[in-house]
């Protein structure tokens, strides 16, 4: 059997999946729980995975589904969540450190990303942060490539709509 041991899968993908979850949840504790759960589930299902499956895309799918599940469960916490968002990013326990790192535009963009509907947010982060091809994003979200593209397009539109020119860095001249 040519399949690599699960430990190798973990070594290759854990950091990236954690990063992805960190990005789409915006809360480190939640990202930690979800990344653990992602790999425990993956371990359970790994034997049943076809040998030619794209393991990376598969892990993104599990992580995305878990993330969406927690969102459903957390709907009732939505109000509190909104409040935190208005107050800014300080409440996630890494506020000062991040505030120092992020300029105004980044903070503004991240706030918009955080407020995106979950599927748009997941699609956007998979594409723009993890640079997954649209085929894999569609697979992860259980939608077509066109829908995945539309999610990313809509995300950009929302980011654009929420920023005014003063918040944006000047455009780079392109050749």
């Amino acid at each position: 059997m040519g399949r690599e041991p699960f430990e190798a899968v973990m070594a290759a993908h854990h950091a990236e999946i954690y990063r992805y979850l960190r990005r789409i949840t915006f809360r480190s504790a939640e990202a930690e729980d979800l990344s653990q759960e992602t790999f425990l589930r993956a371990f359970r299902a790994y034997r049943a995975l076809p040998p030619d499956a794209n393991v990376r895309a598969w892990l993104f799918t599990i992580a995305t589904n878990l993330f969406r599940n927690t969102l459903r469960a957390a709907k009732r916490r939505q109000a509190a969540h909104e409040q935190v968002k208005r107050k800014g990013r300080e409440d996630d326990g890494e506020g000062p450190e991040r505030a120092a790192l992020f300029n105004e535009a980044r903070i503004a963009v991240e706030a918009v990303i955080e407020a995106l509907p979950p599927r748009q947010r997941a699609a956007f982060v998979m594409r723009k942060v993890h640079e997954l091809p649209y085929e894999e994003i569609g697979e992860s979200l259980g939608c077509s490539v066109e829908t995945a593209r539309a999610h990313v397009f809509q995300a950009f539109r929302k980011i654009r709509g929420s920023l005014d020119d003063a918040q944006l860095p000047p455009p780079e001249k392109t050749a």
């Binding site: 954690y18 990005r23 890494e94 963009v109 723009k128 990313v152 539109r157 654009r160 944006l168 392109t174």
Partner: protein, 322 residues
């Protein structure tokens, strides 16, 4: 060409794709044509390029790696735990209905009759013990094939490595081990088994242990019967399966009363501590209690178990007539 060949509204997706690196040559060409004649969209293209640069910064920003390592460490520990506890299992179809075979690293852990052919997580036995189930048939398929041969009468032994972790106690483990040694085509009583393990007064406890046998068929508790010869019980309410397994092994099941039972008057009889087997009428045998015997449905089975015909009653010359 006309600047209105693509409207501002229609060009938006291409514009965003082009600005953010998702566009191909065709999108680029369309956008170039459009913005050459449309100043607002040209500015819009610049805005999206700016946004894309900000997003690029987000991509490059480090996520605190120390936490990732801690999380990874926790995960490795949990996986090791899971591996230790987990079993691989699959539900197979068999002539006796859906049957689950589960194995650990040590050996076969469970054989379970299921009511429907759903996934392995339908196993009540494994769930009750809090066992983690990894659905996989590759490690139990050989066992399944052997089981099919067994149920077809083409195989009389299932020499499987066994893991008694689901036995409730050391006592249960002893009972299961003694039961596993019962020869094919033979029956003994619960009282016989109790004596076998040196606990002559524990007949009921033996019956109880076998009622919860996690490994039916391979630990052949169907070969254990009541002292009256009654089949008693099997796998909850599956007495018919017990009869079927015994019949398969050539043990005749009588139905004189309501329930099935073993009629010792038609069984070849081997008394404890003897190396010979007898006709049931030999000498004082008819007056002795059932727990003293191992009963065989045929001479072939008695001899396959290593016993020789009694020199007095000569079952080899005067076989029991059907």
């Amino acid at each position: 060409m006309s600047p209105t060949s693509t409207s501002c509204r229609e060009i938006q997706p291409d514009l965003v794709a082009t600005a953010t690196g998702d566009g191909g040559p065709r999108e680029h060409a369309r956008v170039d044509r459009h913005v050459a004649a449309c100043a607002p969209c040209r500015r819009e293209l610049d805005r999206y390029r700016s946004i894309d640069r900000v997003v690029g910064e987000i991509r490059r920003a480090p996520i605190r790696a120390d936490r990732a390592d801690v999380v990874r460490g926790d995960l490795e520990w949990r996986l090791a735990e899971l591996r230790r506890r987990a079993v691989t299992a699959r539900v197979w179809s068999s002539p006796l209905g859906p049957i689950l075979i589960a194995r650990s690293e040590q050996g076969v852990v469970a054989v379970e009759y299921l009511d429907s052919a759903r996934g392995a997580d339908a196993s009540r036995l494994l769930r009750r013990h809090g066992i983690e189930i990894l659905e996989d048939g590759t490690e139990t398929e050989t066992f399944y094939q052997q089981l099919l041969e067994y149920l077809a009468g083409e195989r009389t032994r299932l020499a499987w490595p066994l893991d008694f972790r689901l036995a409730g106690s050391d006592f249960s483990r002893e009972v299961l081990a003694a039961t596993a040694a019962l020869p094919y085509g033979a029956v003994v009583s619960y009282a016989h088994l109790a004596r076998e393990i040196g606990r002559p007064t524990a007949t009921r406890a033996v019956a109880q242990a076998l009622r919860h046998n996690p490994l039916p068929i391979v630990v052949p508790c169907h070969r254990v019967i009541g002292s009256s010869g009654a089949l008693t019980g099997y796998a909850g309410d599956k007495l018919a399966l017990k009869e079927r397994l015994l019949t398969l092994e050539g043990v005749p099941v009588a139905h004189a009363g309501r329930a099935g039972h073993i009629d010792r008057r038609v069984m070849y009889t081997r008394a404890d501590h003897y190396t010979e087997y007898c006709l049931p009428t030999c000498g004082a045998l008819p007056t002795l209690p059932l727990w003293r015997f191992t009963l065989f449905g045929s001479r072939a089975r008695a001899e396959a178990a290593g016993f020789t015909p009694c020199a007095d009653c000569r079952p080899d010359l005067n076989p029991i007539s059907a």
